[in-house]
């Protein structure tokens, strides 16, 4: 039996967190706990307490944005290989490149379809 994957969703919009939860539960991925954070500061707190196997993060958020969160996350040896997918309205080539340079594993632009999220995760997570 495959082990369950705990996921962290980081977005200042409760609506988007709810939609991403629904998409994850519909995906053919053995999802365990789904944790939520409203910004990068909260997200780092969750990561220090919980062992998650996947992070979905927005970029534009108060307190600590997604790019700063990504930089701090990658600075920790324990989280260097943690899959992190950025889900953002920011869609310029420069912004996507910046996210990749800071260590993003994938990038999905808002608006997104459920299939786009599932396809991105399928390419990142072990079968």
């Amino acid at each position: 039996m495959a082990s369950l994957l705990d996921v962290l969703i980081v977005d200042d919009s409760a609506a988007i967190r709810k939609i991403l939860q629904r998409v994850l539960k519909q995906a053919e991925i053995p999802i365990g706990e789904i944790y939520e954070a409203g910004d990068g500061v909260e997200a780092l707190e969750v990561l220090r307490k919980q062992k998650v196997g996947l992070v979905l993060s927005d970029i534009n958020m108060p307190n600590m944005d997604g790019l700063e969160f990504l930089t701090r996350l990658r600075a920790e040896p324990a989280w260097q290989k943690l899959p992190v997918v950025m889900v953002s309205t920011e869609g310029t080539h420069g912004k996507v490149l910046e996210a990749v340079e800071r260590g993003a594993s994938g990038y999905v632009r808002k608006p997104f379809t459920a299939d786009q999220i599932k396809e991105k995760l399928a390419g990142l997570l072990p079968a």
Binding site: S13, N60, T89, E90, G91, P111
Partner: protein, 196 residues
């Protein structure tokens, strides 16, 4: 008082008000972004109405207004206005649960949809105008209020309808008068005075 003049959002090149950006181009970007967000996230096809430019204040209203500011080489703001029942309808499609009255989930949904619409317009414009930072949305729900630009800017207003209900997406944008805008995420000016 609202001064309105129609513009044609189906063409580009006319109605230039600022160097480097015509109001027609802005209206087209608003239309394309709004239609994409509604079809992708809600599965809804909106009918677009006649685009117009509103000087000073945008329609005196009651309902829900969601506002996002942006700053960089150009500054401005964008907003989405709709009635309470319309907000409930789009939140119901967005979250796939029924809302009979405006609540926190409904307001959050409208704010996020505004963020996506204006964010995508910003992305489109950034290719020509330079990088801009986006503020987090502010959403207001009430009766008998007006939104007003403190800089007396013109708003490009794109009305949409869905099953007879009306929604407007509008933006005002101008070159940043502050020549020291060296950072992408400089402080956002407060673009509106609101009386509720």
């Amino acid at each position: 008082m609202t001064h309105e003049k129609p513009i044609d959002a189906s063409v580009t090149g006319g109605g230039a008000a600022e160097p480097g950006l015509s109001k027609d181009e802005l209206a087209l970007a608003i239309r394309v972004s709004t239609e994409e967000v509604f079809s992708t996230m809600l599965g809804l096809d909106l009918a677009v109405g006649e685009v117009y430019v509103a000087k000073d204040s945008v329609e005196p209203s009651s309902g829900v207004v969601s506002i996002v500011g942006f700053a960089g080489p150009w500054v401005g703001s964008g907003s989405l206005y709709c009635s309470g029942p319309f907000a409930c309808k789009i939140a119901s499609f967005f979250l796939q649960e029924q809302f009979a009255a405006v609540n926190e989930d409904v307001l959050d949904s409208v704010a996020e949809l505004t963020n996506m619409i204006i964010g995508n317009v910003k992305t489109h414009l950034e290719n020509r105008l330079g990088a801009m930072g986006l503020s987090t949305p502010t959403v207001i729900y009430g009766r008998n209020f007006q939104t007003r630009s403190v800089r007396n800017q013109e708003w490009t207003v794109v009305p949409f309808t869905l099953d007879g209900d009306r929604m407007c997406v509008q933006m005002c944008i101008m070159p940043n008068p502050d020549e020291t805008h060296q950072t992408k995420r400089a402080g956002f000016p407060i673009p509106h005075v609101l009386s509720i």
